[in-house]
Symmetry: C2
Subunit: 346 residues, 2 copies
């Protein structure tokens, strides 16, 4: 597309700081003839404190009109847990049918990993984004009494599982290793697990070139730290994907580098790109936040909008920049953004 | 107690091999005047293939009469996933109200960890054992059709959460660091999360000497690999506990060393002790299985039955043995059992 109409949700904590650098790099990498238009949305803790609103229908309606959304981070200790997560972040993912939550993990050269031996890590988690235990179908009765019962219902549909499994097979087929690992817990969560396993087996028959594999989620965490090089594409449900991708980020240099895309592959709704990290209120305003995860999320955004060459350019810039980083002389958020913008500029 | 009436469920794969060594060490460590009586139960894949039974009421009734249960491992690829897990292992945990699933994690000297820098790890996970997503209250409709819906219901009660939280506070209060971390995902699973968080806050008021802390499960996995020394006692739900304890085992030298106790603290039912690892059919019969996790589970069993001195003796023997192990010359299952039995013998 020769123009990008981008919605920007800076959000809370370090969100605005990292988003500013992401936009800087985006502006620098785009060819001159691609027009970038951005619209900022005031959503998050400040808005909630001021008006009590998390994501009113009017904002949702306007957001729907954009080509894509760039989001910084949502959440603040001053807001009760769950209010912004359920009322804003998850509401966006569900309303815009972001059924593919794409989270690549790669151990870049010269980055710190807690793992001895620096294994060769390069995999991508395709996390389901609209079902599972995230549907919000729980409740509680006799709340606050000794007889309270609280439930959370994981809902999984053939429709929802099949579409994300197909997406994961497509991605696996396009990668050199052509391997897809389903992660679930089908020996305990037998109903949901059966649906996931059967779907992978059935759809897998259409992809004979892709090797498939199954791991229980507990065993998968073991391999994430002992043998992460065994993974290529992982497909998993919303909750297991949440857990696994934070662990993946930790073993590949930390949450400061982990990018994600909340993708609606049909294009009916705008897809949303965000760093995996949170709002980190403890370092907000200090200039210490690393904007790299946001910049890598911008690369995913570019790829999603068809700007493959620019996406690769951003990723190459990050790789080159990381290779030259010196842990002893940390840079500010703006300095890192500037360095990356310089590298991608034509 | 001057006698131990022990039920033994060797189970599948490497189960019988490691259980034999566990019993060897148990026999060697017990004072002469403590009478040990063991009864083996044929439960697991072989029984299921032969009779179609997983855990008939008759066996359950007889098991109930013992002081404790030692279990090797359950599960075999020849049995559909979930049949033995739900029909035998989880049935035991639920029928005998094993609401405290105790899983200590310690990085012993001279053991391999995938973590660089060998952090000082010594924490214990108190995993809830009778509720949460493990209750088996899911189902599916239109199964096998494109319109299938599969659900899994996590059920959490004030009764069930409070008793395990109290147990965790008691354990934290008895440890030098006196710190309790609740792990949940209360920003998404708001109903169950609210019950857990409120319970910890309320019960915590009775334990002013214990510092409490809260982490989302995704963030907890990060700290397990970047800062595991920050943990002392962790209390969490059944599913998060399952995932976290495999990860904990991986960072503390592997699943071959991870012990567990399925405890019914009221003593109404026999508690059950088992290694965290599975049946490992790939190495069954090769003599390669490490029986140490089972031996450490025997230590938990001894402590539970009031034989504290003997429990410590077994743990000290394992520590001393590990310190002398030479990764270059691996021992057989029996050799390791013999070495540990020699060390604990009077
Ligand atoms: C903030 C929270 C709702 C969110 C999630 O659980 O999906 C976050 O952890 C993530 O992974 O994007
Ligand atoms: C085998 C399985 C049912 C079991 C569980 O999930 O609890 C195992 O993983 C464990 O941790 O003991």
């Amino acid at each position: 597309a020769r123009s990008i109409d981008l919605a920007v949700i800076p959000g809370d904590g370090i969100g605005p700081e990292v988003v500013a650098e992401g936009l800087k790099v985006l502006t620098a990498v785009l060819p001159r003839d691609v027009k970038l238009e951005t619209t900022a949305y005031d959503l998050g803790a400040a808005r909630w404190h001021a008006t009590g609103e998390t994501l009113p229908d009017a904002d949702l309606g306007r957001l729907k009109g954009h080509d894509a959304i760039l989001l910084g981070a949502i959440g603040d200790p001053s807001v009760p847990s769950g209010v912004l997560e359920r009322g804003l972040l998850l509401k966006l993912r569900f309303a815009f049918d972001h059924y593919v939550n794409l989270r690549p993990s790669r151990l870049f050269p010269n980055t710190a990993t807690p793992l001895a031996g620096r294994p060769d890590i390069d995999f991508v988690v395709v996390r389901e984004g609209t079902e599972g235990p995230y549907v919000g179908n729980g409740g509680s009765m006799r709340t606050g009494t000794p007889a309270e019962v609280a439930t959370e219902v994981s809902i999984n549909t053939a429709y929802g599982v099949e579409r994300v499994v197909r997406d994961a097979f497509e991605r696996a087929a396009a990668r050199p290793a052509r391997k897809l690992t389903l992660v679930h817990k089908n020996n305990v969560l037998v109903h949901a697990g059966h649906l996931w396993k059967n779907t992978v087996d059935r759809v897998g028959a259409e992809y004979p070139q892709v090797t498939t594999d199954y791991l229980h989620v507990d065993a998968a965490t073991i391999f994430f730290v002992t043998q992460p090089e065994r993974f290529d594409v992982i497909v998993t449900d919303n909750l297991f994907g949440d857990i696994l991708t934070d662990l993946a980020a930790a073993v590949t240099g930390g949450i400061g580098l982990a990018a994600s895309g909340n993708i609606n592959p049909t294009g009916t709704y705008p897809s949303m790109f965000e760093p995996v990290h949170g709002s980190a209120p403890d370092i907000a305003g200090t200039g210490k936040a690393d904007p790299t995860a946001t910049v890598l999320s911008v690369a995913l955004l570019l790829r999603h909008l068809g700007h493959e060459a620019e996406a690769a350019r951003v990723e190459d810039a990050v790789t080159a920049d990381l290779a030259e980083r010196d842990a002893a002389t940390p840079r500010t958020t703006v300095e890192t953004g500037d360095a990356l913008a310089r590298r991608v500029a034509r």
